[in-house]
Amino acid sequence: MKLIVAIIRPERLNEVLEALYRAEVTGLTVSRVMGHGGETDRVETYRGTTVKMELQEKVRLEIGVSEPFVDITVRAILASARTGEVGDGKVFVLDVNQVHRIRTGERDEGAVTPTAVVDA
């Protein structure tokens, strides 16, 4: 199993989510982060003070997948997150030792397989 960590532009989040759902990757975790890379810094002014904003808003995705899904997932992200301008972000793939689903206690493959939605 692998844990895929992707840093993307906030404005591409909806497209990426959609691409992942199409690829049947529906379990994932998202957070707001700030990134620094090759983009030019923004300058802001507050009264007399000038400030350089070195960090840009980004979104971080964290997706645990079983081996057969790794390539599918990475490809879905790469395709849907790209704008072609500096700042599109990165994808990291990490090895995972164990995965547990808290609700059932299932482990590893079983834990990342989605369950049917049955909810009152």
């Binding site: 700030m34 400030v51 350089k52 960090l55």
Partner: protein, 444 residues
């Protein structure tokens, strides 16, 4: 601001300043001025965080730009002696605006009071173009619009112009303020075009408490708007005030119920919107109808605007904060219902409406509506198209993506300061008063 009572006052033999009227109009002017910051919060809460300062500044800057234009020129065009179509230049540059009585209050105060109306009217339009219009062209637009659209319409309805002479009733600005702004907003939204994310992404209000704060302060200020339009601390002011108290209550109740029956849940944004629409609708009627009628008018006014908002959001018409559905349709509803509910029993200087047997008043009201719709639409279209010849009205898509706060104003509404590096000015006189400053090394 109801013309009949104003006229009466102006005709009365020896015009003199009445202290009690002055006291109330001082307060009313302050109350209406507060409505523009209130609008900044109502609008600012409804947009995304990255555009919130820009949206707020669109209201705040009207306090500067429109206010100065009003004092220098537009007041004179609207209210000084002129002809049926436009006032003269007698009061331009505030000439002849002194402490003499205008009605029963000092002339300077009358000028300031009317100025607060011009300011908020222009600011109202901004709701249709937020999140995409550049700040400079917006500033030019509201300054021109105040002179070319607001001042003439104000003259027609309140300044002794032709609609006033035809008997159009507009107590506090259903036509001059709300239809005028609502229609201009509609046209501006069409000229500017849709936001790049509109209809593609969910665009959510970033701060609903601010929307509620704006609605609360707007209501508070509106007591000066409508109650002050009696231009005196008299029974008429009390009626206009009470109607401004009752109508939005009815609108709010109906709105909450409509929300509940349509979606199963009564929203806070809906509640705030309902209050404002009740206020809009009662504005032209406030001094002409009974409090019981005000309750009915308020309840009725919820329907057209409610369904207009729902319908609008299904189109490609990006009147972003529904200024037309709120102020345009709300103003038209109010102007027409004034022709239905008006009653000389409540204001002898007004007129009877449909229910009191005078169907003609409804037709007169419709004339007022039609004229202001056409003129505001044409005027706004022309001004924007002319400006578009000189400069680009819209921010580029990349700027729209980053948000107008950063790109137009160079600042953010909510900063944590993380990752922001102080840029030292070259000319720092090292250690003027204190331990030497370790200069911030140029990062990277």
């Amino acid at each position: 601001m109801t013309h009949p009572s104003l006229l009466l006052a102006l005709q009365s033999a020896a015009p003199a300043v009445v202290p009690a009227d002055t006291a109330w109009m001082l307060v009313s002017t302050a109350l209406v001025l507060l409505m523009t910051p209130a609008l900044a919060f109502f609008y600012g809460g409804l947009v995304r965080s990255k555009n919130s300062l820009n949206t707020m500044m669109m209201s705040f800057v009207a306090l500067g730009a429109v206010g100065v234009v009003w004092a220098l020129l537009a007041y004179s065009l609207a209210f000084s002696q002129g002809n049926d179509w436009l006032g003269g230049l007698g009061n331009a540059l505030l000439a002849g605006v002194g402490t003499e009585a205008k009605g029963t209050i000092p002339h300077v105060l009358f000028m300031a009071y009317q100025g607060t109306f011009a300011i908020i009217t222009a600011a109202l339009i901004s709701g249709a173009v937020v999140e995409r219009m550049r700040f400079g062209p917006y500033l030019a637009f509201i300054a021109l619009w105040t002179v070319l659209v607001y001042a003439p319409v104000a003259h027609w309805v309140w300044g002794g112009g032709w609609l006033m002479n035809r008997g159009v009733l507009d107590f506090a600005g259903g036509t001059v303020v709300h239809i005028n702004a609502g229609v201009s907003a509609l046209v501006a939204a069409m000229v500017l075009g849709v936001r790049k994310d509109y209809g593609r992404q969910a665009i959510l209000p970033h701060n609903v408490p601010f929307v509620l704060l704006g609605a609360g302060l707007l209501w508070f200020g509106w007591f000066g708007f409508n109650g002050g339009s009696a231009l005196a601390a008299n029974e008429l002011a009390a009626v206009a005030f009470t109607n401004t108290f009752l109508a939005p209550m009815a609108t709010l109740v109906v709105w909450v119920l409509l929300d509940y029956f349509r979606t199963g849940r009564a929203t806070a944004v809906g509640g705030a919107t309902g209050i404002v629409i009740g206020l809009v609708a009662i504005t032209p009627a406030a001094g002409f109808i009974s409090p019981a009628s005000a309750l009915v008018l308020g309840a009725l006014a919820a329907f057209p605007s409610y369904f207009a908002i729902v319908a609008r959001s299904r189109t490609r018409l990006d009147d972003s904060l529904d200024v037309f559905a709120g102020h345009g349709i709300g103003g038209i509803t109010g102007a027409l219902l004034t022709g239905v509910f008006a009653s000389k029993a409540w204001n002898a200087a007004g007129n009877d409406g449909l229910l009191a047997g005078n169907a003609g008043q409804l037709a007169t009201q419709a004339l007022g509506v039609a004229v202001s719709v056409v003129y505001a639409a044409a005027g706004t279209f022309v001004i924007l198209k002319l400006l578009a010849l000189v400069t680009s009205l819209r921010a580029v898509p990349r700027a729209e993506g980053l948000g107008l706060d950063v790109t137009q104003h160079g600042e953010e509404a909510y900063s944590s300061g993380e990752g922001s590096i102080l840029v030292m000015p070259d000319a720092v006189p090292a250690g003027v008063t204190a331990p030497a400053l370790a200069p911030q090394p140029a990062a990277r």
